[in-house]
Amino acid sequence: MLPQTPKKTADTEKQKRALFQRKIDAGQKIEPNEWMPSEYREMLAYQLTQKIYTETIGMQPESCWVARTPTLQRKVILLAKIQDEGGHGLYLHGVAETANIPREKITADLHSGKNPYSCLLDYFIQTWGDIGAIGWLIDGAAICIQVSLQRTSYGPYARSMIRICKEENFHQRQGYQIMIALARGSAEQRKMAQDSLNRWYWPALMIFGLPDDQASHLKDSMKYKLQLYSNDTLRQKFIDQTVPQIEYLGLEHPDKNIKWNEERQHYDSGDIDWNKLSSIVKAHSSCHARPRLQHHRKVHAEGSWVREAQHAYRQKQIQRKLNAAA
């Protein structure tokens, strides 16, 4: 480091904030090691850890169907998709490291229960149709959000989202293709498709978070461009795009009273139970049994001897080098 003479007139917090906001407003990216307001850092940390949990814990639910896929082609697709999720967890861990949030802490805070994770991840994947519906609807909803986050203000985060979107572009399609096959298939298969659609449509809407008027951090999050569109805006986009997709499948829309609103040029949802949705989104850690968390803890504990061996081996190698040099 070059010796830097401390500025006599150190910027006040207020000035720094003003400058920071000007950068954001001008569409500039914030890069690691740059000054940022504490609440920006906190919101970023929260978003990143949540996304990391979604990707890494999100590997679990689908992995229980890898062994049972109906064809070999489906097996490699599903494996590749789950593997991507792990990879994207890794990208996001990399982003978190740039914000000084080490992986160990993210894992420890999950295991201790300090950090919540979306309880959607604990829903059971009951049938093969669920694998289709998850790819189509849950990944589809996540992609809506991720596409917008390619323009988020934190540089490493935005760059990771660009890579993630590029790689995930097949996730939704493979899910929809499963649904097409089921919808065109036997009566039993169509039933399976309808059942999965009925169960996963509503959770998909929850991915977008609380309704705008109840989302306490939304304003700040948008001010700082950690979120580019409001929860309801993105949710509406998803609702609109999903209607023709359901129609094409020839399945019944789970929202029996969904209606096109000519004036708004959007669909009006009929049956969303906002109270239920809010309570589920808010409930996080307490909603029900947490099989994925238990599994994560168990696997982490089971792997400890491997990680210890790695460490011990490295220490031995260092010692051997020293001994050889001596």
Partner: protein, 259 residues
């Protein structure tokens, strides 16, 4: 025998040989895929999934080739999902449960070294399709072997616990390795025709390689005498039936459906 009949016989034999190789790859790939979201850390989770993908991809290539030789318009999925325990002719080592990480690494080391030499030889098969599959697979196996070697050394020469786990894994699996070097009349015939690999000829090199890695890893070769055979005849451990019943359940539950 008229030349035409001989040709047809050869094609039937090659088909069966390709299916066997597909069975080896599929069953091991299925076992490896059980590691998804169960590995000791994230990078390893992704890496193991990659190896599993390679094996399942490999199975598909063998089955697709077998399907092309089949007079009954079979598909890759017919081979994977519509055959029972007796029809699978994979080596038993591939069907053993995934066990802990040590079990998996030891099996992978054994199989990777074996495949490294096996595929090297199969690349020169007179059967062009098998040679092409071998060529592609060999590239993957080179990478798999890097991994299993590194891990064997790390775990063998890591902590007391990791060493013990590795040694136990070796002792428990060793009897399954002998089968890899014995061949039935079908394969012997194909060896004569320069189509199949003569596995007996790989044994010395395989043994040298694995001994070297074990030595570096401070692990010892077991002196146990037991050896178990049967995979190539369709006689399996009870683990295979369970694996198949899980793998095939959906496909068999809805006969004739498209997915």
């Amino acid at each position: 025998m008229a030349p035409q009949v001989a040709k047809k016989d050869l094609s039937t034999h090659t088909l069966r040989y390709a299916v066997r190789l597909g069975d080896d790859a599929l069953i091991l790939g299925q076992r490896l895929s059980e590691w998804v979201s169960c590995a000791p850390f994230l990078e390893e989770d992704i890496a193991l999934a990659n190896v599993a993908l390679d094996y399942i991809g490999r199975a598909r290539m063998y089955y697709q080739y077998a399907a092309s030789l089949s007079p009954h318009h079979k598909s890759e999925d017919d081979f994977a999902f519509l055959r029972g325990e007796r029809d699978f002719e994979n080596y038993l080592i591939n069907e053993l449960p995934r066990g802990d990480f040590a079990d998996t690494i030891v099996r992978q080391l054994i199989v990777d070294i074996y495949n490294f030499h096996y595929l090297s030889a199969l690349r020169h098969s007179k059967d062009q399709a098998l040679a092409a599959i071998a060529d592609k697979s060999h590239k993957e196996t080179r990478y798999h072997l890097r991994r299993s070697r590194l891990w064997t050394v790390r775990l063998g020469d890591g902590t007391e616990e990791s060493h013990q786990r590795m040694q136990r894994a070796i002792d428990e699996i060793w009897g399954y390795t002998h089968e890899l070097f014995t061949q039935d009349s079908l394969e012997q015939l194909l060896v004569e025709k320069n189509i199949a690999v003569d596995t007996a000829s790989l044994r010395t090199q395989w043994f040298t390689d694995i001994s070297a890695t074990f030595q570096e890893a401070t692990l010892t070769l077991p002196d146990t005498e037991w050896a178990i055979h049967g995979g190539r005849k369709g006689y399996h451990t009870e683990y295979l039936g369970r694996l198949l019943s899980e793998m095939q359940f959906l496909h068999r539950s809805y006969p004739g459906c498209q997915w």
